[in-house]
Symmetry: C2
Subunit: 598 residues, 2 copies
């Protein structure tokens, strides 16, 4: 049995039954679309993922790219896969018609791309990184830059990168030291960038790096950082020309292995040209205007990786006989599939709750992004933007952290076989680990959530969330969801709000360290709550579906939803109480820990 990557039925359930994504069709921006074009694109991506991407997974994992004489050579399979991904239209699916896109909602594009991510996150990234780079030029670049670089990126003729990180300044963008010296219509760049995904390969004729650098004389810190287009080959009126971007090394990643991660050396020969995007010294704000979508995409990667692992362990558990029920140990009876054992069911239900709860969270965030840009009224757009900003660090980090646990469970369910490279769970576990690191580590997401998102605008984002959760509670009550679950979610929300006010007061009183000390615990309890909200929504939709009747397979799917919602709300949500106490009492064991004490 082949791995379904995602449960098709569940994707449809979430989009249309839980979230009413069809309501997006009423917005002018999506007026040319229909449920058929939505489902058509999802189906196209799913087929591409199943037929082209997934079959190459193992080969791509086993033979990483090679660096030969300063040129990176990608795996031969990719020469077949990338053109097909271009044909599917992945590079510009959610971008407007006028830049050559399909103008699909991000919600629909995300659902569709999840299949490709599940089949291989690194393959998807060739497109995802290109979309991100092109989107920056679209939003802030000149018409000339758009014509030369954005259009070929959206067409998939070029690929793009985000060249932020430097060896001495990983997460600290304030310390970017790559220099940009004015030279007429362009700048001359010099410096080094590391971990640049897709930073070199032989799959397209050009690669466009979006580079953070400091114009000579700019001030220290993030306020002196500007954004540049630095192509591998300059697009001139006469064709492509070399641009003094050297590949000084290849990083040997433990996952996402077909996506080259390179060390770039800019301007070794003094002729690396870059073109400023937008205004000088605005590099960081520009980058952060794209950050929500980038981080939702990482969240989607996390969900996708957890999903493919979940389906693999589910299939294994259903087909692997081993042992007998605890109440019937007669060795003359045949062994039962391990799915019959309570603890295996526990592990599978935990995976399901993480995968499908995370999927809800990621689609919810994408829906907020769509509404923040395209909702009919300004108050609706503002409400959606507040929610989007708030949910982004959660949608980014929850799938990464709990997805890793879920992938570890997938390996565990496979027993000794899971510990071998003959089976795939170990590869997904490696792939998943990246998601807690790139695009801002989990630690940084915690600081972003507690230090910025919940505190901004006098706590307006939490109020916006409360509105949504209240609506979910009412929907759940109307649908006949167990009243105790609704009460538990309401209670957790009240507790979160009270805690946040308390921490905010601590910060306002000048104790910023005390406010942020337990940001990791805060992120965890907030995530658990946000996922409980999603599970309540899914339980409500499941109850609504069951009331309608329908086929037995749908019935099973909906009953499973109720069991997973119960699991999350009764097993995970109660764990928040202890975390709230830690934050509130500001438990100080690591705050007072001195370096010499370790």
């Amino acid at each position: 049995m082949t791995n379904p990557l995602l449960n098709d039925r569940d994707v449809s359930f979430l989009l249309y039954d839980v979230f009413d994504a069809a309501s997006l069709l009423a917005l002018p921006h999506f007026a040319d679309h229909s449920r058929e074009t939505f489902d058509g694109y999802i189906g196209l991506c799913a087929r591409f993922a199943h037929e082209t991407v997934f079959p190459a997974f193992k080969a791509l994992d086993e033979e990483p790219p090679r660096l030969v004489d300063g040129q990176v050579f990608a795996h031969p399979c990719l020469h077949d896969i990338l053109p097909k991904m271009r044909e599917v239209g992945v590079f510009a699916a959610s971008r407007p018609f006028d830049v050559g896109g399909q103008q699909l909602p991000l919600t629909i594009a995300t659902a569709a791309h999840l299949y490709i991510m599940a089949a291989n996150p690194a393959v998807y990234s060739f497109a995802g990184l290109s979309t991100g780079a092109a989107h920056l030029i679209e939003a802030f670049g000149s018409d000339d830059l758009k014509a030369r670089y954005m259009t070929p990126l959206y067409e998939g003729r070029f690929t793009g990168t985000m060249a932020l990180t430097e060896p001495h300044a990983g997460s600290s963008l304030a310390d970017v030291s790559t220099r940009a010296t004015p030279a007429g219509d362009h700048f001359l760049l010099s410096g080094s960038k590391i971990f640049i995904s897709g930073g070199d390969h032989d799959l397209t004729e050009n690669i466009v790096h979006l580079v953070l650098a400091r114009i000579d004389g700019a001030s220290a810190g993030i306020k002196g950082v500007s954004l540049f287009v630095v192509p591998k080959r300059r697009v001139t009126d006469g064709g492509l020309e070399g641009n003094d971007v050297k590949i000084s090394g290849l990083v040997h990643k433990i996952g996402w292995r077909c996506l080259p991660a390179v060390i770039l050396s800019l301007g070794e020969a003094g002729d690396c040209r870059g073109w400023l995007v937008g205004e000088p010294h605005q590099g960081i704000p520009y980058m952060f205007q794209m950050m929500n979508e980038a981080r939702i995409s990482i969240g989607a990667d996390g969900v996708a990786g957890a999903s493919v692992g979940y389906h693999e362990s589910l299939s294994y558990a259903a087909s692997r006989p081993q042992g007998r029920p605890v109440t019937s140990k007669d060795p003359r009876l045949p062994q039962v599939p391990i799915l019959e054992h309570a603890d295996v069911r526990r592990m599978l239900l935990r995976q399901k709750a993480i995968v499908e709860g995370g999927l809800g969270l990621v689609l919810q965030a994408a829906l907020c992004a769509d509404r923040a840009r395209h909702a009919a009224t300004e108050p609706e757009r503002q409400h959606a933007q507040l929610l989007l900003d708030l949910l982004t660090p959660v949608a980014k980090s929850f799938p990464a952290e709990k997805g890793f646990e879920s992938n570890a469970l997938a390996l565990q369910i496979h027993g000794g076989y899971g510990y071998t490279s003959e089976y795939l769970p170990e590869a997904w576990l490696r792939d998943q680990k990246l998601n807690s690191i790139h695009e801002g580590t989990t630690g940084i997401q915690g600081l972003d959530l507690l230090g910025r998102k919940v505190m901004a605008k006098g706590g307006a984002a939490l109020v916006a969330l409360e509105t949504e959760v209240s609506a979910a509670c009412r929907r759940a009550e109307a649908a006949g969801v167990d009243a105790a679950w609704v009460i538990a979610v309401r209670h957790a929300g009240a507790s979160l709000n009270a805690l946040t006010r308390e921490l905010g007061a601590r910060g306002s009183a000048g104790d910023v360290e005390g406010m942020l000390c337990h940001s990791a615990d805060y992120l965890e309890l907030f995530s658990t709550y946000a996922v409980a909200w999603q599970w309540l929504l899914q339980a409500a939709a499941a109850k609504e579906g069951l009331a309608k009747g329908g086929e037995p397979r749908d019935h099973d799917h909906l009953e499973g939803k109720l069991a997973a919602a119960q699991y999350w709300i009764r097993t995970e949500l109660p764990k928040n109480a202890a975390l709230v106490t830690l934050c509130r009492e500001n438990e100080d064991s690591y705050a007072r820990m001195k370096p010499g004490w370790f």
Copy 2:
């Protein structure tokens, strides 16, 4: 700075200040020893680990063994390492003088071997598996088998394996189907065994497999399984002879890679001879009499792997500048080491609490094993045996599960670098994952703890534990440990005892499924409590040490102990409350989950 593998100071603190291991010298069995011979052996193993084993780690990980024409060839480095491990006396360190051992307490041998395990668990296993195989022959075999096979195993001239697992019967030993047909003084074996660690190599002239098989006509289930010595080459009076043990495949493990895991095919040519160990049909009881020590050894592997990862991330965090304090973001100031950031300190303190708490637990279990065999009086021996049986599933699974989390944190602290194979944390993460699988999965440990250990003999083991914890509480109070911590541990113990009685009553009433449904949660809360007990003991010893004065470095070490104890008791222990509720209420989401609902 080289990785210390373990903190020497901490090993000494645990052995002599926390546990008073020197008191073992008063027992007749260890009368020939002294503190100097204890420390001498630990130092010898530590030096061997640092100078010989650890430097080869990367080479051994990168080039796994090869199978060529039915013969496995180990990495060339091992031809140098194994003889040195023999010289150190690792193979029989804890065995009696009269079988050629050093008659060291298991406590001391475990502490010493932890260094080798931290340097490379797979290297240690060549010895550990041999000791286990030889010990079975020592305990149950004939004098003839001892002379031919046990002695060369203890001398390290042969190596040994445990050949339990079959392809269709991983964890289910009741389904072992390898056949043993009587043929005079021996049996003819036929069948297949999988995942046999050390099952073939070219490092020693012989390999001795301890094989579970079923004598023709034996009953079904575990009561029909016997234990055999099945050598790669038969030891005859005239020398070594081949024995029809074929290597039909090599398993590609994701860690422990220098230790070959093979598929054995026994008796393809009809001439695979095995010699019965002890009585027929006693294979499983024999194996389980060795199980405590085998499982403590896996726990030690988990602690060792977490320890080497912890020290690596600690050293990285102290030397890697990145970002600035949350209260002082001036970009003109230099970056600070990431150890300064609260969330990095949190991750490191969590690692420390897991590593050193786990170390306490493993040494405590080893101490129980020593006292169970060699204590002066029968009641003391019985008390120690009860505790040993109880603690074994916890000492086996806690380091595996939380050690995996700890190893993931070590990778996380390394950021993008951690995600590369240029750094070691990813390798330790892979190595660690095996410990939740081999020698009984974590799920099986949970069933063992709740279904057997706490219920046996009317709950006598929990009473024995309570005696120990009460003594620890009194010691902590006398030493001036924070009274709130003592109360928290007492309270958690009372809660655990009440829960256990309730679950026991559920089982006695016939609801075995209901009793065992939350065995994973029970194992987790029990483990958290057991480690809290260990941290209370360590806090008491730290307070005692601080009261004595001493050097500033000792002072720092002891202050760190108090902070880690505080962390565990205030951060982890309160999480038990939610788990107790799940067990008590028998939350039924996965119990009622049907296969079609997933």
